[in-house]
């Protein structure tokens, strides 16, 4: 369900797609026929809205459609951005294994900025307490043992801004 897959037949969104995106990026209307409602708003039929959403889902413009839980409100108040200095030749394989852990919400390879920043694997870990986050980071350390030269965990101390991504029509 959540696994991102390579995009088949990617095509860039056209003007109508972009209007659908603009109309739905903050959410779907909570009515019995939400796609008809969107269609009405932008002047196309509900069936076309469905067909276009389906295509955007298939080619990866849409990751998924559903509820987006608020980690924080659901009790997962502790999080840590765990960062790892993984040997380059092993990162593809190990990154996938870390990303598959069910307590990791985002997992990316990113560039190092030496000497300040030696870490190239970022894995966001969530838990109900800091101790739980620490345990989970320890589990990642175990998984990466032998291929990792160092790691750190950056705990967020404050949310300074949180908005959705905005896309103009």
């Amino acid at each position: 369900m959540n696994q991102s897959v390579p995009a088949p037949r990617f095509s860039a969104p056209d003007a109508i797609d972009r209007r659908i995106i603009a109309a739905t990026q903050t959410g779907l209307p909570l009515v019995a026929r939400p796609y008809d409602a969107i269609g009405e708003e932008i002047g196309i039929g509900g069936a076309e809205v469905i067909a276009r959403l389906k295509k955007m889902l298939e080619c990866g413009i849409i990751r998924r459609i559903g509820v987006v839980p608020n980690h924080y409100a659901l009790g997962l108040t502790a999080n840590g951005m765990s960062v790892w200095d993984v040997e380059d030749e092993h990162i593809a394989k190990l990154g996938r294994r870390v990303g598959a852990l069910d307590f990791v919400s985002h997992c990316y390879q990113r560039p190092r900025h030496l000497p300040l920043w030696p870490y190239n694997l970022f894995a966001m870990v969530h838990g109900t307490s800091q101790a739980e986050v620490d345990d989970k980071v320890a589990a990642i350390a175990k998984l990466l043992a032998g291929a990792v030269r160092g790691h750190d965990v950056l705990v967020s101390t404050r949310i300074l801004k949180k908005t959705g991504l905005r896309i103009a029509a």
Binding site: N2, P13, G46, I50, L53, G60, D102, L116, L154, L160
Partner: protein, 151 residues
Amino acid sequence: MGRILDDTDRAIVNGLQGGFPLTETPFADAAAKFGIGEDELIARISGLADDKLLSRFGPMYNAERLGGALSLCAMQVPEARFEEVAARVNAHDEVAHNYARAHALNMWFVVATEQPEQKDAVLDEIRHETGIEVYDFPKIEEFFIGLKVEV
């Protein structure tokens, strides 16, 4: 949290993080697997959203596939200037999220732009406005993105 989730709420949060039907009456079609009706599913999602237990309900778009740029950036901000710099960074609409983190690099934010070339311009503006280096951490490879929350 000011609300106790019942089993049905939990099933909805756990079971509807993807796969919402692309059908004429998606709530009616999705409601069946939770043993409730269309109206109740709409009411529960609406209630969960009102109580902020959901940050959103609908399609989750992949900003990069839309042709724009998205990157994680970090700055090393002196404590005395933290609020001022946060305000300057946050003033950019392209900054979607910004977190204070306990590290020498103590401010981490996501920049999303509609045109790929705009990203570097935004980072340059922030450097210029604050006099502080902005480190850019664009993704090289994505291993997973998703919220596998179980409640």
